[in-house]
């Protein structure tokens, strides 16, 4: 059994190739001058620069949080380059034909076919390569529906009123250390606006990929679903294999106006580092959504990558009857450390939230669920249900649960349950006795364990997520 685990753990990172593309990259370092240069590269208006500088000054005053159940060497923020753009991007391509073929090949290797395949799949992709959004497909079709889907750097110019109104409205600049840093140095990301009463005609998707050595990636996503609208957004992340750790500190803000619904799905497969824990992405992400009356925000995430994950997609249920959901599968192996979960802040009456978290730990990894459910005194009749299950594979890993429950309303009901289990010998025996090999049996059992979450994913993603788990688990139990 141990042997098989080892074999599985030695599996190479499949997305770990490096693209040979000429890049414009800033020298490492972080100061006001760097921020001015980022802003000027992007030809930003003055208000945007001021906003960045304000965030940077705040950040200088803040301390790096240390409460998460993760352990990593101190990050030298001066050793990171904060801007990297593929050179051929200087004159932005007008169509896919103009895109650097190397770049497109990269996407193909990643299994993200920008061309026909995506057309067939009907997915609009805003691909982020290091720091600049490369190209956006399907824009025209979306424009017909009135949907705005563009790089946020472009939205700053084209829809400054929306960006100014909502940027930082859900995650304040001073929210936390990494969010403040992101505000100061973010380079690109997606901007989505769904007009009133509109059901977005297709699923929107962004693939993030970190390519350049020593570059941090700081994307910024802002999604606004106006009254009565609906959008489903998919996010996939990969990074090439490097010996050094790379920092990723993104911020995602969602605004669901009255009666709107946002479904946000993530499959995160950043490079997790090697067997000894060398290299890999440090993933410090702040994701939060604000629900107005009768609105709904649903976060679904499948996290299999990154050396360190620090991520709590949250919902502020401000409007009466609003709904927040969090469905998560987090798989850690090797020396990975994940501290992930959610916050459900109930402010409105009859607000509802559901949290389903499945943590799978293998190898020498540590996997923690950290969550907060808060019922404010105004949250009359609110309800929360939380189920956190952990599965341990092997006896060198750790599975942890840190749920905070705070209630101030007698009519609010909070239920939290957590269990821990392993793939039992009985389960394995049964599967084997029925003719399944151990690998298949484990993968089946783990898939069953995660079923409640997978069923929340859009179809294409569910398949991908299942495959990802299967690969990650190859032979982990004998």
């Amino acid at each position: 059994m141990t042997e098989q685990i080892d074999k599985a753990l030695q599996r190479e990172y499949e997305a770990g190739f490096v693209s040979d593309i000429e890049s414009d990259t800033f020298e490492p370092g972080l100061n006001e001058d760097i921020i001015r240069r980022i802003s000027s590269m992007k030809q930003e208006p003055e208000w945007m620069l001021e906003w960045r500088l304000k965030a940077f000054r705040n950040w200088l005053e803040m301390e790096e949080p240390d409460w998460a159940h993760v352990d990593y060497p101190k990050i030298d923020f001066q050793a990171i380059s904060y801007y990297s753009a593929p050179k051929s991007m200087k004159d932005k391509p007008k169509s896919l034909d103009e895109v650097d073929p190397e770049l497109l090949k990269t996407y193909e290797k990643l299994g993200i076919p920008l061309h026909e395949q995506m057309m067939l799949a009907g997915v609009a992709v805003d691909a982020v390569f290091d720091s600049v959004s490369v190209v956006t497909t399907f824009r025209e079709k979306l424009e017909e529906a009135g949907v705005i889907f563009m790089p946020i750097s472009e939205a700053v110019h084209k829809h400054p009123e929306l960006v100014q109104k909502y940027l930082g409205s859900v995650v304040p600049q001073k929210d936390n250390y990494y969010a403040a840093l992101n505000c100061a140095v973010f380079t690109d990301g997606s901007f989505v606006y769904i007009p009133k009463g509109t059901k977005c005609p297709m699923e929107l998707s962004t693939y993030f990929r970190i390519n350049e050595q020593n570059t941090g990636q700081f994307e910024r996503t802002l999604i606004i679903a106006d009254e009565g609208s609906y959008v489903s957004y998919l996010e996939g992340c990969t990074a090439p294999q490097r010996d050094e750790n790379q920092l990723h500190a993104a911020v995602v803000e969602l605004v669901a106006m009255d009666d709107a619904e946002i479904k946000y799905s993530t499959v995160q497969n950043w490079y997790p580092g090697d067997e000894e824990g060398r290299g890999g992405i440090y993933n410090f992400v702040t994701k939060r959504g604000l629900c107005h009356t009768n609105a709904k925000i649903s976060w679904t995430q499948v996290e299999t990558g990154s050396a360190v994950t620090w991520k709590y997609p949250s919902c502020v249920l401000k409007g009466d009857n609003s709904v927040g959901e969090f469905y998560s599968v987090a798989l850690t192996r090797g020396c990975q450390q994940a501290d992930t979960g959610t916050k459900m802040i109930h402010l409105g009456k009859n607000t509802r939230s559901t949290i389903i978290s499945k943590g799978i730990s293998a190898g020498r990894s540590n996997n923690s669920y950290r969550g907060l459910v808060r019922m404010n005194s105004s949250a009359k009749g609110a309800r929360n249900f939380t189920q956190c299950d952990s599965l341990l594979i092997g006896d060198q890993c750790g599975a942890h649960t840190f749920p905070y429950v705070e209630s101030r309303n007698p009519s609010a009901i909070v239920e939290h349950e957590a269990t821990t289990s392993k793939v039992s010998d009985d389960q394995m025996f049964l599967c084997q006795q029925r003719g399944l090999d151990p690998e298949k049996a484990v993968s089946m059992i783990v898939n069953g364990f995660c079923k409640e979450v997978f069923k929340e994913l859009p179809m294409e993603f569910a398949v991908e997520a299942g495959k990802l788990l299967e690969i990650s688990l190859e032979g982990s139990v004998g």
Binding site: W67, H69, M375, S377, S390, L392, I393, G394, D395, Q396, C397, G398, A399, H400, T401, F402, P403, Y404, V405, E406, S407, R408, N409, P410, S411, A412, I413, V414, E415, H416, E417, A418, T419, T420, S421, K422
Partner: protein
Amino acid sequence: MSSWLQTAVERAADVSDGLALKRQASLELLCDAKWPTRKTEAWKYVPINVWERAELSGATNDTVSAPVIDGLDSLDVVFVNGQLQSVAAESIEGLTLISLSDAGAQAADLFGTIKPDRHLFGLVNDVLATEGVVIDVAAGAEIEKPIRIVNLLGEGAEAHTRVLVRLGAGAKATVIEHYSGNSLSRNTGFAEYQVGEKAQLEHYRFALQTGEAMSIGGCHVELAEHSELNSTLVGFGSALSRIDVDVTHAGSHAFAKMNAIYLLDGKELFDLHSTIEHAVPNGTTEENVRGIVADNSRAVFNGRIHIHRDAQKTLAELNNRNLLLSDRAEINTKPELEIYADDVRCAHGATVAEIDQKALYYMQSRGVSRAQAQVMLNFGFINELVDQMPNEALAEWLRPQLRERFASMEVK
């Protein structure tokens, strides 16, 4: 450093007895210690400043008799305002019941060996507790009479007492820690229990201080192989009431059953932190914590179960259920699991809810008034744990007090 902690450190300089070594070590830790703030995880929900702010007049040394528990024939040790007043004189084979100051080596063997150093006020108790009691039960001895340690706190008192208990292999004993008082006072009461192989400890802590009485204390238990702990903790809140419980499974096949109850009214505060360390295989822990939080009160429960890498085949369950009776009351609960072994069965659950409306209607439909039905349901919710207390006399004594408290709780 806070001014109060500063004075505690200064007063500690006077303490020099057989426990000096440990006291000195704790003193050094205290000198470097940080006074907790709201950012200190272990004190997140508790405003500790009331502790410092209170100005105590100093207690008069009245002779007060311990509250009588009908039907309980116990060996009593009584502290009044932190001063030892009496120790049961009855001589029982296999039992040493002696004051801390007279205990000598027996005290030094136990003092500070089980209580973890992370508890700031435990360190304070280390350096300030000159009064206390040592209970040493010889191997194989079964002490039938419960031993009751009564701490009575009057107006203006500041008290620091220590309880040290050792049960030899196969020994059996019942220890009741009974705290009472409702006027402005400050006390730290820490107890350490070393439970030997196959020994059985029946333990009660009644933290019944209310009103202005401020209390920070702890119960720390180490379980040897095949030993058993059956513990019940009952807390009424006060201006500040905090208890840290640590149970360490140091020997395999130990069994810990822990029930805790808190009932809060008015502006009371109660904070219970429990940590169960499973350091070895085959241990079992069952922890059930229930609370009712009324009016303007605030309850905090933090229940941590830590399964170490070697602790395979552990069974550990923790359940925390709360009823919130008012929209000014507050409950903060955090059941934590930290697990490093794969072949274990661990679960925890926490709920916060209002009274079961179906049960309320059912009772009303039988003619019981809504107010009375609420009291009965509250009582029933708590009584499930009272019913599990092995000592019937204690349960009988407790029930009317709980009823009285429920009747006064604001019904909305």
